[in-house]
């Protein structure tokens, strides 16, 4: 009874202590409570909790003790109630009435100094049947944590307790043989039974936990010790904070204005660490900021909300402030993109942060179907719906490994982008959103796609620069994970090892962390494995021990850097470890390169960058060596491509390593992506393609003699010279002497036979179009198959004579005419003409015909014409071309300067005649316009090159027969 009275006394005292307080402030309990919380923060702020996971702060332990105490209280309470102590019963009633308050004031209790004594008492009570293993105890037991953190199981011996109670009571105010009447005892037993049943039903989880404790070592340490609270995260503080801030920015839009950060999850993590007794109280949770339905799982820990808040470090306060400041709408960037190497804790951070902020995490990872339709519905689900089930927390979508499969990932990215875009459009608030949702439901699916994002979406990827993520990068808030410091990891590992009873040294752990490149997952897996094997972590031989070595495929840039950069060796050990370090270097490089696999790219990169390195090489021996190695790789590559002996690929990394041995430097290389070879290949293909097209255009009896090879090697340079003779005077055609005309004709024939013409590159790709623009913009006139490009080497000036643009224009017209002529001659099967124009005609191609239909080579329907035509020289052409040098470009009517030229052997110059007639004023247009209208091809070799829309300034009726004379 002593104990009980003491206990009671303590309770009473406590209650008394706070009764005044409560009495005063009972009416508005909530604000006061908040104030108290604030107070607690104040209290805890100076105390830096940087490593909460490593050592449980003292107040934790004390808290835990109160925990252990509380069930005790409950056990004792029934008896208390029935103890017929009138004085006390009043108090008791009060106690009951104030249960909520009591609960709310738990923390006050925790800080009361009385507690220490109480803990001692508890110890006394439970010390009797204590064992480290639950199995050793038969009957009821409960786990208890001693002040030094040891966890034991204590048997609950009812009789003894009651015995003690009796004793105490004997000492106290009761008299009689039995302390209590039998009915009371019976009631007590019943109560106990009820209590037990309640316990069992309320927390099945805890029961299972209890059962599982002996097997707990089977659980993966990675899961077992995964951080559950925000403060436990090992990743970079800054990133953590940023992520949390971002999530917090959603609060106003997700939770409405009265947002409170509920952080029961943080608690749960802590709880796991402290491994407290699993008993619980059912508390009314309505007191806490966000109204929540009571769910057994989360509810068990709900009681510690305040406690958690104490533990809140500066982040939380920061958060609170932040929240107060930012109360308007979701954040600017609606998507968070976390990226970083595997094992750095991206997924963990996302989960913890989301839960911390009161979201229910919905994860989509690579194992799920990620086609765009599925993902869209999924996202819509997450974003719009609230589950009616127990957990009504808003959801937060975490898309893991978004860069994983390109095709699938892209679907997800597209959907998200669409939603973000929709958001931007209707960024006016929730009303609008609702509207759009409603309209989405009623209307077609198309409209549904415009649903904006209403819930946070966190995307996680390994490679930020994956092509699929390119659009996402622009709209998302990107956080790149950096490796946590080795120290942090080592501390954590040490803690875990201690917990698991594994002996390690921090040197070994540091080595392990470094070896795994701070991949926590890998570290833990390795440690667990070793622990299972009952092995010690060996510092020197870590590589053989670490079995969970992941396939680190680094980016090619890293590989090139590794190849070019010498690892700095620690000076003293260099001489001793020289051999081994070079061996290590070899293996690490080898695995690095073979993991990447893209040897071709790696070697290209080496080739690209090797000459930029600063290695000491007086007689270029090293360069020669490296290039020889590159040659070998190329030959090897070619060989195994040809023979398909892919097994030989394993020798490729060795080549890169050999180069590393030759040129690696301590200084940091400046590495560039190997563009030049790719560029070379692309432009080569382009040129070859151009050459082929041109080749096909040339008449076969010439082109058959030119191969691609001989073309550039032999032909181009002379051809360019020949095509631009410096002797050609830039004058009108009729001013040329006979000899010059012959030369001109020769030149034109050459151009025709090689299918070359001058062309205004910028504007008109079609032949036969007016060249008026060309006259204003002369520089653009150049060879049509751009043969000049083939000798246009960089930094080389070729000394070709440039023809005047006027000459070029004339030439291009002539070439055009010549083509028409040849094709028309081909058409007309006149044997005489063919013999006249022997060689030329053969080379003319039938392909010319179709394009000439445009230019309307036609004969007249004039009834009188046929006779004349047949008598006329066969190869007469009347061409009314518009080599207009006039700048009058007003509409389609411009002045044609008729460059008419008579071809072939006859000296009959049609041009002059025509000028005379036109001087009188001819109704040129009409005639000309009539021509295409009546155009009908028959065998008469009268040709018109017609440019529609051209007219003479002076109009005069002219007959066709005048033209044909």
């Amino acid at each position: 009874m002593e104990m009980e009275s003491e206990d009671l006394g303590w309770l009473e005292a406590d209650l008394d202590l706070h009764d005044d307080y409560i009495d005063e402030d009972f009416e508005p309990p909530l604000p006061e409570e908040e104030a108290s919380i604030e107070q607690v923060y104040e209290h805890h702020q100076p105390e830096p909790i940087t490593k909460p996971d490593l050592s449980i702060p003292d107040d934790h332990i004390t808290d835990l003790e109160t925990e252990t105490l509380q069930p005790k209280k409950r056990l004792l309470n029934p008896s208390l109630l029935d103890s017929a102590n009138v004085d006390d019963s009043v108090e008791d009633k009060r106690c009951r009435v104030d249960l909520g308050v009591n609960e709310a004031d738990d923390e006050w209790m925790r800080y009361s100094p009385v507690r220490e004594e109480a803990a001692d008492v508890v110890e006394d009570v439970t010390e009797r049947f204590i064992s480290r293993f639950a199995t050793d105890i038969d009957g009821d037991f409960m786990p208890v944590t001693a002040p030094d953190g040891d966890r034991v199981y204590a048997k609950l011996v009812k009789e003894e307790v009651e015995d003690k109670v009796k004793k105490l009571e004997v000492k106290g105010r009761f008299e009689g043989l039995m302390m209590e009447p039998i009915s009371v005892l019976m009631q007590k037993v019943e109560q106990k039974e009820l209590q037990k049943a309640l316990e069992a039903s309320v927390s099945t989880q805890i029961d299972t936990d209890l059962l599982e404790t002996p097997v707990v070592t089977e659980q993966l340490w990675v899961d077992k010790y995964s951080p559950n609270s925000f403060v436990e995260l090992l990743s970079d503080e800054h990133t953590n904070r940023e992520v949390l801030m971002w999530l917090k920015q959603w609060d106003s839009s997700v939770f409405g204005t009265e947002v409170k950060s509920t952080t029961d999850d943080v608690l749960s993590a802590l709880k796991r660490h402290s491994s407290v007794s699993q008993q619980k109280k059912v508390y009314n949770k309505s007191n806490f900021g966000r109204s929540k339905e009571f769910v057994p799982n989360s509810g068990t820990f709900g009681e510690r909300n305040h406690f958690n808040k104490e533990n809140y470090d500066s982040h939380a306060i920061h958060e609170l402030h932040n929240k107060k400041i930012k109360d308007s709408g979701p954040p600017e960037q609606k998507i968070l993109l976390l990226c970083g190497a595997p094992g750095l804790g991206k997924t963990t951070l996302a989960h913890v942060a989301a839960r911390h902020c009161g979201y229910r995490v919905v994860e989509i990872n690579a194992s799920d179907d990620r086609s765009s339709s599925t993902i869209e519905t999924k996202i819509l689900d997450v974003v719009q719906m609230n589950s009616v089930m127990a957990d009504s927390r808003p959801k937060c979508l975490v898309i893991d490994e978004i860069d994983g499969a390109l095709g699938d990932g892209k679907g997800a990215v597209d959907v998200i982008l669409k939603m973000v875009a929709a958001d931007k459009k209707s960024d006016t608030g929730t009303e609008n959103n609702i509207q759009s949702e409603q309209s989405g439901k009623t209307s077609s699916k198309k409209k549904r796609k415009d649903t904006p994002l209403l819930r946070p979406v966190i995307c996680i990827c390994n490679d930020l620069y994956a092509p699929a993520l390119r659009p996402l990068r622009n709209v998302a808030k990107v956080h790149v994970f950096v490796q946590p410091t080795v120290n942090r990891i080592v501390n954590r590992l040490k803690y875990i090892c201690n917990k698991e009873g594994m002996r390690t040294s921090s040197v070994a752990l540091t080595a392990l962390a470094e070896y795994t490149e701070c991949d926590i997952r890998a570290c833990l897996n390795t440690l667990q494995f070793l622990n299972k094997k009952k092995e010690m972590l060996n510092v020197l031989d870590i590589s053989s021990q670490v079995i969970g070595r992941k396939d680190t495929s680094k980016s090619v840039f890293d590989i090139w850097k590794e190849v070019f950069q010498k690892r700095r060796l620690k000076g003293v050990r260099k001489s001793i470890d020289g051999c081994r370090s070079s061996f290590n270097e070899f293996t690490s490089l080898h695995s690095l390169i073979s993991n990447c696999g893209n040897y071709d790219l790696i070697l290209d990169g080496i080739h690209e960058n090797i000459l930029q390195l600063n290695y000491h090489d007086p007689v270029m021996k090293k360069t020669v060596k490296c290039l020889n190695n590159l040659e070998i790789s190329d030959i090897l590559h070619q060989y195994l491509m040809r023979t398909q002996k892919m097994s030989l690929l394993v020798y490729q990394p060795a080549i890169a390593i050999a180069i590393h041995g030759v040129v690696s430097q301590v200084e940091k290389p400046n590495i560039q992506w190997p563009k030049s070879f790719h560029r070379y290949r692309m432009s080569l293909i382009e040129k070859v393609e151009a050459l082929h097209t041109w080749h096909n255009k040339i008449s076969p009896c010439i082109s058959r003699h030119i191969s691609t090879k001989s073309f550039v090697a032999d032909l181009v340079s002379p051809l360019l010279h020949i095509l631009s003779p410096p002797t050609l005077r830039p004058v009108a055609l009729h001013l040329l002497s006979e000899k010059e005309k012959n030369e001109m004709a020769q030149l034109v024939r050459t151009m025709v036979s090689y299918a070359i013409t001058y062309r205004n590159k910028k504007v008109d790709p079609l032949p036969g179009k007016p060249r008026n623009q060309a006259s204003t913009d002369i520089q653009i006139l150049s060879f049509d198959p751009p043969i000049g490009d083939f000798v246009n080497f960089e930094g080389y000036i070729c000394n070709y004579f440039m023809l005047a643009s006027a000459v070029k224009q004339v030439l291009s017209h002539e070439v055009e005419k010549q083509r028409i002529l040849q094709s028309s001659i081909n058409k007309s099967k006149d044997e005489n003409e063919r013999t006249n124009l022997s060689g030329k005609e053969k080379s003319s191609k039938p392909e010319h015909a179709p394009e000439n239909t445009k230019t309307s080579i036609s004969n007249l329907k004039n009834s009188s014409a046929p006779n004349r035509v047949t008598s006329a020289p066969a190869n007469t052409i009347v061409s009314a071309t518009a080599s207009g040098r006039s700048a009058t470009l007003s509409s389609e009517i411009s002045k044609p300067s008729e460059t008419t030229k008579k071809r072939s052997s006859g000296s009959f110059n049609f041009f002059d005649r025509f000028r005379k007639t036109s001087a009188n004023g001819s109704q040129m247009t009409e005639t000309v316009k009539k021509v295409p209208a009546t155009s009908e091809r028959d065998s008469r070799p009268v040709l018109f090159k017609f440019n529609e829309g051209f007219t003479n300034a002076v109009k005069r009726p002219v007959r066709m027969r005048d033209l044909l004379m």
């Binding site: 020669v624 290039l627 590559h637 030049s676 040129k687 096909n696 036979s753």
Partner: protein
């Protein structure tokens, strides 16, 4: 029309150089039949001209009426179908094609398309000339597999078809194929032969040639008739009344290689090598074959080199050219040669001048 084409001999009788070969060919086909032929020789020596003249000799003028066809073929290769695009020149009697255009799929061209063509015996009313001629260009670029496929075709369809193969070097044609053909070597024309041709053209064009001018053209041409005639015409266009010391315009790419060579001679360092690489890329981009680049580069370098180094440099050039042919990325090998040369030359300079 360029003089190269204008004065190309159309018949075997008109051939000026390789007259003996032409006469032999003429005799060969008098019986209206001939074995498979393999023409080989350096570019610009007149292989194609002879082949065309030979075809004309066999089939008459109708062989000159050719048309270009660009056909798409679907070849069924076991599990998949392969689409091939192939340009052919064909007359009624012969088909001319370039099987190596198909790259690594040339095997299918030989196995399917050529076989298909060879199978179909042309129907000839007179019963004579009951064969078709297939002219295959650039046989040396055919892959080994394609060449192996070819030899069976050559035997099996010899009744209905004759193959005329044409290549630069017979060394890359397999022994088996070579032994099934009558090999005709068309060597590069000698300089006096080129002079003869140039003078012939000059006479036809009515030009006055100063003495020694033709010889200079011939010398510059590197025994390629095509180039000789082209540069002759270039000279004519540049400046007609020829003067004796007239400049014969060089090839641009050769000039460029000359620049590269002087770059190399000026400085030997990785930095300079990097510049040279850029220039080499320029050349390669413009479809100049890497072998020719290497050869020309060696030529230019040798001109400036001390006597005792020449042998060594030649050796290495050959060495790297061989490796280039084994490999795929020509730039690696040319560059390696340049590096090697730089190394040798720098070593030599240090040894000589300290």
């Amino acid at each position: 029309m360029l003089w190269v084409d204008k004065y190309r001999p159309k018949t075997l009788d008109k051939v000026i150089i390789h007259e003996d070969v032409a006469q032999n060919l003429k005799k060969l086909v008098t019986e209206q039949d001939c074995p498979h032929l393999l023409f080989y020789g350096p570019p610009g020596s007149g292989k194609k001209t002879l082949i065309m003249a030979l075809l004309r000799q066999i089939f008459g003028a109708s062989a000159e009426k050719v048309k270009v066809e660009n056909k798409n073929w679907k070849v069924d290769a076991g599990s998949r179908t392969i689409d091939l695009e192939l340009t052919t020149l064909s007359s009624t009697h012969h088909v001319e094609l370039n099987p190596s255009d198909a790259g690594f799929q040339d095997r299918y061209i030989v196995q399917e398309i050529i076989k298909e063509m060879a199978k179909n015996r042309p129907i000839d009313t007179k019963g004579k000339k009951g064969f078709k001629v297939l002219v295959l260009n650039e046989v040396d670029k055919l892959s080994r597999e394609a060449q192996h496929s070819l030899r069976r075709t050559m035997e099996k369809y010899s009744a209905s078809c004759r193959l005329i193969l044409c290549c630069d070097s017979s060394s890359k044609v397999t022994e088996a194929v070579r032994s099934r053909c009558l090999n005709i070597r068309i060597n590069a024309p000698k300089e006096d032969e080129i002079v003869k041709v140039v003078e012939f053209i000059g006479k036809k064009e009515g030009l006055q040639l100063p003495p020694g001018f033709a010889a200079r053209i011939a010398e510059k041409s590197g025994r390629s008739l095509r180039r000789a005639i082209l540069s002759f015409e270039t000279c004519r266009v540049q400046q007609y009344p020829f003067t004796n010391n007239q400049v014969i315009p060089p090839m641009d790419w050769e000039e460029y290689i000359f620049e590269i060579a002087s770059d190399i001679m000026k400085e030997q360092s990785p930095k300079r090598l990097f510049q040279v690489r850029g220039k080499l890329y320029e050349l390669l981009v413009n479809c100049i074959p890497p072998e020719i680049i290497l050869k020309r580069l060696l030529y230019e370098l040798l001109k400036k080199l001390d006597f005792e180094l020449k042998h060594e440099v030649c050796h290495w050039a050959a060495y790297y050219e061989h490796r280039m042919r084994l490999g795929q990325k020509a730039i690696f090998h040319i560059e390696a040669f340049v590096a090697k040369f730089m190394s040798i030359y720098k070593g030599f300079l240090i040894a000589t001048f300290g």
